[in-house]
Symmetry: C2
C-alpha cells in the first residue's frame, strides 16, 4: 500500500504535534500554531484526530486573568496512554508505568534474585509489571516496554541484550521490549525533560557498581555499533593505578567507583550500593580517611570529565547515580580540575548538573523508547 504525499505530511504533522505535547506538556493551540508552523485550521484538524484516538484531550485553561477568549489547551492523556519501563541493576530490579508526557504513574522495586542466570530476574521483573497491569485502566493504550540495563549487569553478569530481549518478551507476554544502557537512557530522559533540555551535546555520567556514560551529540544518542558506546568506566586514566576487573590497570571506575571508595576510606560500609553516600557522609562528619577518599575520587572524576569534554565539546555534564553524591561533595574541586585540564574552546560553555529526574531518569528514558513508534505515527495502531 503506498501513501500519498499529503497523507505522509499529515502523519508527520500528527507526530510532531503529539511529540510536542509529550515533551512540553499542556500547550495552547495558539502556541502550537506558532511552534509547528501550521495554520489554525490544520492544528484544529490534527487535534481532533488525536482526541478521537484518545491520545490527547482539549479544554479551556485555568483562569488566566487576561481579557479575550482563551486559546484551547491540548494535553497528553497521560493516565490513559502509557508504557512500561524496567531498570535492571546489579542489586535491585525496578519497574514503572509511565504515561504519555513522561509522568510516572506507578512504580515497583525488589532486590535482584541472586545468581548469575537471568531467568529469576526476568521472572521477578515480569511479576512487578503484572502487578502494575492489574491497576492500569482497562481501556488504556499500552505502547510497550522499555528496558534500562546497567553496565554492571552487562559486564559483571555478562547478560546480553540479545538474550534478555526474547526472555523478557516471553515473561511479559508482550512484543520484544526496547533495550538500552542505563546511562544512555538516563541521558535521553534528562535531554528530553530534565537537566539537559535544549542542549544538543550532553554527557550523562552514571555511577553504580561501575561507571558509564550516556552521550547525546548533535541532538542524538550515541550508542556505537553494538550499543556498547559510553563505556567510559574503562577509560584508563591512571596507568599506574590499581588493577580493574576488566584486566586493565587504573580504569576510571577503579579511581572513582564505589569499590575505590571502599578501598580508600578504610571504613566498612553497610550495603553495596551505599558506599558512595556513606563515604561522603563520613567525610562530612570529619572522618579523615573518608575525606581523603572523597578528595581522591573527586579529583579523578574531574580528570576524566576533562578528557570527555575535550572529546565531545558538550554544554552539559550530568552526574547521576553514585556520582551525584560525589559531585555534590566537592563541586569546586571538580570544577578546578576541569578548568585546569580541558582546552578553553571545549570547556568554555560546559555547565555541570545533577539529574532533574533523580533515580527515575533511566526509567523515564526507557519509556521514551517505548513511546517512539507512537510518536512517529500516532494513528498507525
Amino acid at each position: 500500500m503506498s501513501t500519498s504525499p499529503q497523507e505522509s505530511v499529515r502523519r508527520q504533522n500528527l507526530g510532531a504535534l503529539l511529540r510536542y505535547v509529550h515533551v512540553r506538556g499542556a500547550t495552547s493551540r495558539a502556541e502550537l500554531t506558532v511552534r509547528l508552523g501550521l495554520n489554525r485550521s490544520t492544528i484544529g484538524a490534527l487535534t481532533a484526530d488525536l482526541a478521537t484516538a484518545g491520545l490527547i484531550d482539549e479544554g479551556v485553561p485555568q483562569e488566566t486573568g487576561r481579557a479575550g477568549r482563551p486559546s484551547i489547551v491540548v494535553r497528553p492523556r497521560s493516565s490513559r496512554v502509557y508504557g512500561y519501563a524496567i531498570s535492571l541493576e546489579l542489586e535491585r530490579l525496578r519497574a514503572a508505568r509511565i504515561g504519555l508526557g513522561g509522568k510516572v504513574l506507578d512504580t515497583r522495586a525488589t532486590e535482584r534474585p541472586p545468581g548469575a542466570e537471568p531467568a529469576p530476574a526476568v521472572a521477578a521483573l515480569a511479576a512487578l509489571v503484572a502487578d502494575m497491569r492489574r491497576s492500569a485502566p482497562a481501556d488504556g493504550v499500552d505502547v510497550g516496554c522499555g528496558v534500562a540495563v546497567s553496565a554492571a549487569v552487562r559486564h559483571h553478569l555478562g547478560w546480553s541484550d540479545a538474550a534478555l530481549e526474547p526472555a523478557l518478551a516471553a515473561a511479559l507476554d508482550a512484543p520484544p521490549p526496547f533495550i538500552g544502557g542505563t546511562a544512555d537512557l538516563a541521558a535521553l530522559a534528562e535531554h528530553t525533560r530534565g537537566a539537559a533540555t535544549g542542549a544538543d551535546n550532553v554527557i550523562y555520567l552514571h555511577g553504580d557498581a561501575g561507571i558509564s556514560a550516556g552521550i547525546i551529540a548533535g541532538g542524538r544518542r550515541i550508542t556505537g555499533y553494538g550499543g556498547h558506546g559510553g563505556e567510559v568506566g574503562h577509560m584508563v586514566v591512571n596507568p599506574s593505578g590499581r588493577l580493574c576487573g576488566c584486566g586493565s590497570r587504573g580504569c576510571w571506575e577503579t579511581e572513582i567507583g564505589e569499590r575505590a571508595l571502599l578501598h580508600l576510606a578504610g571504613r566498612p560500609v553497610p550495603t553495596p550500593g551505599a558506599a558512595m553516600a556513606t563515604a561522603v557522609q563520613h567525610a562530612r562528619e570529619g572522618d579523615p580517611g573518608a575525606q581523603a577518599a572523597v578528595a581522591h575520587a573527586a579529583d579523578w572524576l574531574g580528570f576524566g570529565v576533562a578528557n570527555l569534554v575535550n572529546i565531545f565539546n558538550p554544554t552539559v555534564v550530568v552526574f547521576g547515580g553514585t556520582l551525584r553524591e560525589l559531585y555534590l561533595a566537592a563541586p569546586a574541586q571538580i570544577h578546578r580540575r576541569i578548568e585546569s585540564m580541558a582546552l578553553p574552546a571545549c570547556r568554555d560553555h560546559v555547565a555541570l548538573h545533577t539529574p532533574d529526574l533523580g533515580d527515575d531518569a533511566p526509567l523515564v528514558g526507557a519509556a521514551e523508547l517505548a513511546f517512539e513508534s507512537l510518536l512517529a505515527d500516532p494513528l498507525s495502531r
Copy 2:
C-alpha cells in the same frame, strides 16, 4: 512561497539521485530504480531534469558483453560541477578544485607564510584558488568552498573559525566558506568514499603537530557544541608523563605526537612534519633509539585507541597523517594493546585501516561540505 507536497517530494528525489551518483559514481538507471525505490518513468524524469541543469550526463555504458539492451548509465558531471577545498595546516597551505563525485581536478600547495597573524596565510590561499579559477571551465557550476583547519592551527596559532570565515570570504570574493576541523573532514571523506564506507561508527585519527579525531557516530559527524569535539590529543593518558603545551601532563599527543618522537628518538630530523616518517625509517634501519621511540609511541597509540573504542564502540579506526606511518610501523603491537585493554563487546568488531584517500582526505571532505546544499536541493540555484 509555499511548496506543494508533490514538489517537495520531487526535490527530495532529485537530491537523493544526485547524491547517489555523487557518492557511488556512474550508475545505471536500472540500479537507480532499485536503490531509490522509484519506478522507471520517475527515474527518467529526474535524470532528464538533472541533465538539463548540467549536473549529470547520461550515455550507454562500455560494451558489457551481455545480451539485451544495456541500461543507460548516469554520471556526475565532475569536470563541470565542482567546489574548491582548502587545507590550512601549520606548515603548509593546500587548495584543490574537486568535481562532483569527489574527483580531484586540480591542486596547489605552498608553505604557510610565517607569523602568528592569519592575513598572509589567507592571502596566499586566495592566490592558490585564483590560480585554479583561471583554468576552470567558463560555464562551470562553482558550488563554493570548504575549508579544513588543523587542530594545531586552531590551538597553537589561536586562529578561530569565526575570524577565518569572513577573511576568507573577502579574499576569495565569494560567499562565506564552510569550515571544519582537518580530522573531522578527513573522517567525512573516508566515510563517504574511502576506508570507512558503509560504517556508521568511525574514528579517524589525524596526526600532525598535534593529534585530533574525526568521529562519525550513528552515521553522522560528531563535532560538539562549538565544533571543537575530537580533541583527543589532549586526552590525558599518562598523568606522570611529560608536560604538554596545553598545561596538562601526559596528554596523548605528548606520547605519540611528532615532538614525542623527536624527544625520544634522540636523533635530529630534517624538517618539521617529517619527524614521524624519519623516526620510523631510522627504526627500520636498525637505530636502537628510534626503535625504542617508535615502540613507545605505538604502545601509547594503542592505549588511547582502546579508550576511544570503549567510548564509541566503532567498527572502523583510520590512522591518518603522521599516525599512518606510526600504525604501519607496528600494527601487531597496536592490535595487542587494543585487544588487552578494550572491552570485548566494544573491540570485537573493530577494523584498523589507513586512509584510502591518503593526504587528500581533508580536502575531499572539505569539498563535501561545499557540495551539501547542491545535493540537498539540486535545482534551487
